[in-house]
């Protein structure tokens, strides 16, 4: 082998490791979009507005439905022919007489999105989760939604005319400093967390608790999320189980506030306890997973899987197609209610009125009930839109989950809280009649019942110090502690090292002798 080739080999080895190192931290972008030629075609010249949107992967209807997929509702048929992005461009040109070009790109995790923004990517409209919205808000990176956006008298303001009063209430009452969330963000999808489980192995009673991951009876048969925030919430729920389900707390008028405070406990003592608990969990579960949980659930490798409700719906749908029944249970201690919301970025919009108008119109267009239905049908998550005076969302629910005429064993399912915002009173107008199994299946995941909503807690954002402490806790859980290396481990490693050194010395000596 000649010298050049060896050099090349050594270099490629180095390059390989470099790329591996670099790849570890770099966010993955599914679709590359060229950075917009900055406002060269801006609305000022009366031409085309460019709107740079960054959304989760597979989080919008891309159209191209088969004919038989058309959803026939009493108030019209919903059908996805083109992608919603393209439909928006057409609709905007038609309605406002302005051409808009959407540059659509995607991100994989909230942290990826944040790193992309830090690295200098510019977007006008992004769709992060609750805590990331709070983080961006606290860093003053967001543009407030305009007053016009909240004006219900404009027929094209589909968001404010159709958003669920319950969701809007959460957005109004959650504050960062003294500003409500709703000032900067419009909801898109929402859901709760829980376990998808195999009803042949577990009962709902057994599955509906955060301590499931730690249950030795299901050793190496459960997957949980490879994600520090979800794991933290689970651990707190499990550790505080008794306190959270105590009747004295549940009956307390301030129950919800106290629940939320308890679930957002980031005291050093709690973090230490969570670390111990998660270490135990790590030794008990099948694995932490980022994306394989759904498939493993369907192929039967595991019997339960910690999931976000939207993915739970997807998992159960896929299993149904294979003739395999899975259920969904929400832990009795508490559940994490999460939101993904649209917000406009300061350095993207940069004071451009035409751009901001297009961004708000994009949110409104996605909030039009038929488009919300298309999204829900396509991605399995739950839209924040209840439709307002438009009955189609409820009709879609009935179309999707309602029991057949004359079916026996049906139960009422009250969704009044979502349509009217009242979590206390029964609402016969918004009560579905469903078959009993739906209480444990897609419906329970997509539209959790009032009892689940009562015990739901949002997970606040952590301050940088808390975040650092919790992340260190997570690293500690995931790393192999050097103190755990057994004696034989050290001996083996020492022997191997000694062997390598001896070999290399021996080689060199031989060569010197030969020389």
């Amino acid at each position: 082998m000649n010298r050049v080739k060896q050099g090349f080999l050594a270099f490629s080895a180095l390059f390989f490791s470099l790329t591996a190192v670099a790849g570890a931290g770099m966010p993955v972008r599914a679709e590359e979009t060229a950075p917009a030629a900055r406002d060269t075609m801006a609305a000022g010249t009366g031409k085309t507005v460019t709107l740079r949107v960054c959304n989760w992967e597979e989080y919008i209807d891309e159209g191209d439905w088969d004919q038989e997929e058309a959803i026939d509702l009493p108030d019209g048929t919903v059908f996805g022919e083109n992608s919603l992005v393209q439909d928006f461009e057409d609709w905007y040109a038609e309605t406002y007489g302005v051409k808009v070009k959407v540059q659509y790109s995607t991100f994989g995790t909230n942290e990826d999105l944040y790193n992309m923004l830090t690295l200098g990517d510019t977007y006008d409209l992004v769709c992060p989760s609750d805590y990331m919205i709070m983080k961006l808000m606290s860093e003053d990176q967001l543009v407030p939604l305009s007053d016009h956006f909240f004006d219900p008298s404009d027929a094209n303001n589909f968001y404010i005319r159709g958003v669920s009063p319950y969701i809007q209430n959460v957005f109004d009452s959650t504050r960062i400093g003294d500003e409500p969330w709703s000032k900067y963000s419009a909801g898109y999808m929402w859901g709760v967390t829980g376990f998808v489980y195999n009803p042949n192995v577990l009962t709902e009673e057994q599955a509906a608790t955060w301590t499931l991951a730690d249950d030795p009876a299901y050793r190496r048969q459960i997957t949980i999320k490879d994600n520090v925030r979800d794991s933290y919430f689970m651990a707190v729920g499990a550790l505080k189980g008794e306190e959270l389900t105590a009747p004295s707390l549940v009956k307390d008028p301030a129950y919800h506030q106290k629940l939320e405070d308890a679930m957002n406990d980031t005291s050093p003592e709690m973090i230490a306890k969570v670390q111990d608990y998660l270490q135990q969990v790590k030794d008990n579960v099948y694995s932490f997973e980022t994306d394989s949980g759904k498939a493993d659930m369907i192929t039967g490798k595991v019997v339960a899987n910690y999931q976000w409700s939207g993915d739970a719906v997807y998992t159960m749908d896929q299993a149904d197609e294979d003739g395999y029944m899975l259920n969904f249970a929400v832990p009795r201690e508490s559940t994490n209610i999460y939101f993904d919301g649209w917000c406009m970025l300061k350095n993207g919009i940069a004071g451009d009125r035409a751009k901001q108008q297009a961004a708000e119109a994009f949110i409104n267009f996605l909030s039009r009930p038929d488009n919300a239905i298309r999204n829900m049908y396509y991605i399995g998550y739950t839209s924040v839109i209840s439709g307002g005076s438009d009955p189609r969302i409820f009709e879609y629910l009935d179309w999707n989950y309602g029991a057949d005429e004359g079916e026996s064993g049906t139960v009422p399912y009250d969704l009044g809280y979502f349509f009217t915002g009242d979590t206390e009173k029964a609402d016969p107008e918004h009560t579905l009649t469903v078959s009993e199994e739906q209480l444990h299946r897609q419906l329970a995941a997509q539209y959790p019942g009032t009892d689940v909503i009562r015990r739901s807690s949002i997970m606040r954002y952590f301050t940088p110090e808390e975040n650092a402490a919790i992340n260190q806790m997570w690293v500690n859980v995931r790393c192999y502690n050097i103190r755990r290396v057994p004696v034989w481990g050290w001996l083996l490693m020492g022997a191997a090292m000694a062997g390598i050194v001896t070999l290399s010395v021996y080689q060199n000596r031989r060569k010197h002798m030969a020389g």
Binding site: M1, K282, R478, C479, R483, K511, G515
Partner: protein, 261 residues
């Protein structure tokens, strides 16, 4: 500008600056500064005082060493037999061994996952074994190729001379063939060992929930701590450099020895 042979190197030089030198500068900057831009060695000290970071280094070393050893034990006999065989189309046979590399990596590991599940029943019981099997499956061709190339280029006359001088088969192999194929082994080892320390995708996909160096770096980046992440990447780079220097020395020595012989 006059076109010379040197001009041909320009694209590569540009590439080198853009994708090797610049990132390295950035890496150094982040590794040795804190959030406010001040110089600090805290991340460096932090790494060597954190039992978890050191444990991860140990674990990565262990995975990489076992993987490399297994690869070497599997690859050397194959490469040797192939190189020595009188087969006419040796390169085609080697291609068969390299062919798995043409199939998408994640597809291969997904398939392996199913096979391992079939064999082990529950994958989660043998996380270390799974990591080693996955990496071996992935990196074996990188070991076979350089060893095969080195052995096939060996001058057969050297072995004949050894035999003529009274060495038996065993002695010829251990005293002539094996030392002369050392450069190939070294190339193979460096191409397997180093990626094996960082390729955490294999561990993720095969349900090993313990961090190795690559995943540790990733976790710091996900928590917006680019400084600690960069420092770990840099330390890894240091290890790689030392390793490369060592093997380079070996190879240079072998060349000299070869020339003298």
């Amino acid at each position: 500008m006059k076109f010379t042979r040197k001009s041909l190197g320009i694209p590569y030089a540009v590439y080198l600056v853009l994708f090797v030198v610049l990132p390295l500068v950035v890496l150094f900057y982040y590794a040795f500064t804190d959030g406010t831009g001040r110089l600090t060695a805290a991340h460096f000290i932090g790494f060597f005082t954190d039992p978890n970071a050191l444990g991860t280094l140990f674990y990565s070393f262990a995975v990489a060493m076992v993987t490399t050893a297994v690869c070497l034990l599997l690859a050397y006999p194959v490469a040797y037999i192939l190189a020595m065989s009188p087969l006419k189309y040796k390169s085609s046979v080697v291609m068969v061994f390299v062919m798995p590399m043409w199939i998408n990596f994640s597809l291969r590991i997904t398939a392996l996952k199913e096979v391992l599940t079939l064999l082990e029943g529950n994958l989660a019981r043998f996380p270390f074994l799974n990591a080693v099997v996955g990496m071996t499956y992935d990196f074996l061709p990188f070991m076979i190729l350089p060893i095969f190339t080195t052995i096939s280029k060996l001058d057969g006359a050297l072995r004949e001379a050894a035999m003529d001088l009274g060495a038996d088969e065993k002695q010829t192999f251990f005293r002539v063939t094996l030392p002369l194929s050392m450069p190939g082994i070294m190339s193979g080892v460096s191409m397997v060992f180093l990626p094996a320390m960082t390729n955490y995708v294999v561990l993720d996909m095969l349900y090993n929930s313990t961090y190795i160096m690559g995943s540790l770096i990733g976790s710091y980046f996900a928590a917006y701590d680019w400084h600690s992440g960069s420092m770990i990447a840099l330390i890894l780079l240091g290890i790689i450099c030392v390793f490369t220097l060592l093997t380079d020395d070996e190879e240079a020595g072998a060349q000299r020895g070869g020339a003298l012989l």
